[in-house]
């Protein structure tokens, strides 16, 4: 089987789960014997295929300056590129089409990821006359408090046109049905996975005197950094010897910096900006708790990363990852008091951190990307009528 896959990001330059997913998915599909050509906008950093069955085909120049999770408000647009994002995705679609056309390559199906690649997916599907699979990692309703209609229109069109849509969680599937009128029978749920072996395990008797609490994600409304800082304030009212790490970049960075000053906790909050993958592994393992206060989280791969490191997690109840990972604490994203109480409990009661940590490490071992790839292959076979 040969698949024309269309992605947007690819490690090491990634801004979220889509890039990780595409890398892991093509690697594991390839290991399952599927030949994958992954079409991507030109990436900022050099990339190389993970397997002999995978070809990475970069198109255009430096398109990836636009993050997969960017919005017209926040994204730093590349000067070489048209300033409208529709133009960007359409241009990418045209580039993908001409690349496929020129190569004369035969494919069994087309698989694209999220709204940025939907125009390309639809174009290739029409050109090749092959089924289209669409994975939705997040919807415009997740990303923006006030969704852009023209983006949600593209998502809606994609979901209604695809032969099969893959949602990364039950809640995303539900969204697709409610917001876009998707046919539930054509939307399957395939959760993300984790390469658990990669992660460094947290040492229980931490050498550092200061306790560390981690936020790791884009600084956007969706991820709830403001709730993180407000919970931090509540914790610090009772426990001074705690440092709060904010790892990640994003449009809300300036606002978060001023908020930490306003709350009088700027000496206890460290903003680390974007950190590369290999540093991330170590950050998790040095922290005493990980908080994911997302307002809307279709999945939340970082939660699995923290769990693979044995770092106790407090996760927003509105996150897809809680459908598969049970060894964590849950809080409503708006409930800052509850988050602070849970944090204080994790810091004060060592037995809960210990038990949670042990069980998390065991739990995530069963959530490998291999299963994600197997289920995806199953979806391919279903669409192609292969038993």
């Amino acid at each position: 089987m040969r698949v024309a896959m269309i992605g947007w990001e690819y490690p090491p330059s990634i801004t979220g789960g889509l890039g990780v997913h595409c890398f892991e998915l093509v690697s594991h599909l390839a290991a399952l014997g599927v030949e994958v050509d992954l079409y991507l906008p030109k990436q900022r950093a050099g990339i190389s295929p993970p397997h002999k069955n995978v070809r990475l085909i970069e198109l255009g120049s430096a398109t990836a300056r636009i993050g997969a999770y960017g919005t017209p408000i926040s994204m730093p647009l590349d000067s070489n590129y048209p300033s409208d994002i529709i133009g960007t995705t359409d241009e990418f679609a045209r580039l993908a089409l001409s690349a496929v056309h020129e190569s004369g390559m035969h494919y069994d199906l087309v698989h694209c990821h999220d709204w940025l690649t939907i125009p390309a997916g639809l174009m290739l599907r029409d050109f090749l006359g092959k089924p289209l699979i669409l994975t939705i990692h997040s919807t415009e309703f997740d990303r923006n408090p006030i969704p852009w209609n023209w983006i949600s229109d593209i998502e809606s069109l994609g979901v209604r046109s695809a032969d099969r849509t893959i949602a990364v969680s039950k809640r995303t599937r539900q969204h697709l049905m409610e917001k876009y009128g998707a046919d539930g029978g054509k939307v399957c749920i395939i959760h993300n996975g984790i390469d658990a072996e990669k992660y460094v395990h947290r040492q229980e008797a931490s050498m550092h005197k200061e306790k560390l609490v981690l936020f790791l994600g884009r600084l956007s409304h969706q991820k709830g950094p403001e709730q993180f800082l407000r919970a931090a304030k509540r914790v610090l009212d009772h426990e001074r010897n705690v440092r709060f790490l904010v790892v990640g970049d994003g449009p809300l960075l300036p606002r978060m910096l001023s908020l930490s000053i306003e709350l009088g906790i700027s000496d206890r909050v460290s903003f680390w900006g974007f950190v590369p993958e290999h540093e991330k592994l170590h950050i998790y393992s040095h922290c005493d708790a990980y908080v994911m206060p997302s307002v809307s989280e279709p999945f939340g791969i970082t939660a699995l990363e923290a769990m693979a490191s044995g770092t106790p997690c407090i996760l927003s109840k509105t996150s897809g990852v809680t459908e598969v990972a049970k060894n964590c604490l849950l809080a409503d994203f708006w409930d800052v008091d509850e988050m602070a109480s849970q944090l204080l409990a994790l810091l004060r009661y060592p037995s809960v951190s210990r038990v949670m940590s042990q069980r998390q490490i065991v739990e995530v071992r069963a959530l490998g990307w291999r299963q994600t790839a197997e289920k995806t292959l199953h979806a391919y076979n279903e669409v192609l009528g292969i038993k």
Binding site: R234, H238, K326, N327, C328, L329, L330, D337, E338, A340, S341, Q342, L344, A345, R348, Y349, S351, V352, R354, V355, M356, R359
Partner: protein
């Protein structure tokens, strides 16, 4: 001739309120520990629901069956003190229905720890005896029956616990019929626990008990549907002195809903059993007086919970052990304080609070989840620990 010795365990936990650590630390907890810790509204709601689905209809049916069978249908109950407390708060009608059964003389009531606690493992050994004495007295006062057979919390049993029950004057003690205790021997005989001279152990026949308690409504079970006629035939084929069928009372109408046919099963069970000339029904106090047929040696505690049938359902992980130790340490100050503080300390001892913190996976974890009102064991642990911290500060920062 084998006697059917049925006993029903009746317990309803007093669930805790959600307590945030921030409220504890900022001193915004209600003044009364009882109001602050126990979720009266939720407990009342659950109690009344179970009363309507299980306690009242089942007791009504049992009374009818006793009357119909003219004293040939007999059985036993074990009511925890925590359940009796809730009868006092939310269900005098429920207590009355037990009293009516007690008055027939065909129903026995067992002794327990009043607070459904793990006091048999406390360093302060006297607390166990105190709780058993409290329960003994409550059963005498409320039901007019003097217990003769002891059932430790969750059927937790060991040589030592049997010896202590014997020292308290009981003639029988309930135990799980584990392979570890019995080897290849049948549970359908009385056994003398090692180190005891008078008390007899009534060994729960767990396969036959679980056929009703767990498997009754399981459509994947090859024996489904289980009829009273079929079950009576199985019992009639058993050898031994007594077939000990020990069930959670909530099997009737709550764990097994009315729609599963469980009430119809119970309705026909006495007559179907009594139609076999080699079967009769006996109360636990009657059976306990017979001669033991051998000795059992159970140095490590067994229980009726989970696949392991040991203490791991309550003390299996670090969180559970931390809670157990912390609460135990508050015993002396709580006793010095007395009154509501002592009552709160004892009610917090209910083994349920530890049961919710179990992190076992697979089938047992599901059972724990079924019974728990927490989202997961971690939330349960934090809530319980927050309450202990608050209690500690009330007792003067022990």
């Amino acid at each position: 001739m084998a006697s059917i010795c049925m006993y029903f365990q009746v317990h309803q936990p007093l669930r805790l309120r959600k307590v945030q650590l921030l409220s504890v630390l900022s001193g915004s907890m209600p003044p009364s520990p009882m109001d602050a810790y126990f979720n009266r509204e939720l407990n009342e709601k659950v109690f009344r629901k179970v009363a309507e689905k299980c306690y009242l209809p089942t007791n009504k049916l049992l009374l009818k069956l006793i009357e119909e069978n003219g004293g040939d249908f007999r059985f036993s109950f074990s009511l925890t003190g925590v359940f009796l407390e809730q009868c006092r708060m939310f269900g005098s009608d429920v207590l009355q229905s037990f009293r009516r059964l007690a008055d027939t003389g065909c129903v026995d009531f067992l002794a327990e720890t009043y607070y459904h606690s793990l006091a048999s493992f406390y360093r302060d050994r006297a607390e166990f005896e105190r709780q058993v004495a409290m329960h003994h007295e409550a059963i005498q006062t409320l039901l007019g029956v003097t217990p003769r057979v002891f059932r430790n919390t969750e059927s937790i049993f060991s040589n030592e616990i049997a010896q202590r029950a014997e020292a308290m004057g009981y003639s029988g003690i309930v135990a799980e019929g584990t392979e570890g205790a019995l080897g290849s021997r049948s549970p359908n005989f009385l056994y003398r626990p090692k180190g005891c001279s008078r008390i007899n152990a009534l060994m729960r026949n767990y396969p036959l008990s679980d056929d009703v308690g767990y498997r009754f409504s399981s459509r994947g079970w090859k024996e489904w549907p289980l009829t009273a006629e079929k079950y009576a035939k199985w019992l009639s084929n058993c050898d031994g002195q007594c077939i000990n069928l020990f069930l959670d009372f909530e099997t009737f109408g709550e764990h097994q809903w009315s729609e599963t046919g469980i009430f119809s099963f119970l309705r026909h069970l006495p007559s179907e059993c009594l139609s076999h000339p080699n079967l009769n029904f006996r109360m636990a106090r009657e059976v306990a007086e017979w001669d033991a047929r051998g000795e059992i040696d159970v140095p490590l505690p067994t229980s009726w919970a989970d696949m392991e049938r040991d203490l791991s359902a309550w003390l299996g992980n670090d969180m559970q052990r931390a809670c157990f130790d912390e609460l135990q340490a508050l015993g002396s100050p709580a006793m010095r304080r007395g009154g509501e503080a002592l009552q709160a300390w004892r009610l917090l001892q209910s083994s349920d609070h530890l049961y919710y913190l179990c992190t076992k996976s697979l089938a047992d974890g599901d059972v724990h989840k079924y019974f728990s009102h927490y989202q997961n064991p971690y939330e349960g642990f934090i809530n319980y620990m927050n309450i202990i911290q608050d209690f500690k500060s009330r007792l003067g920062g022990v």
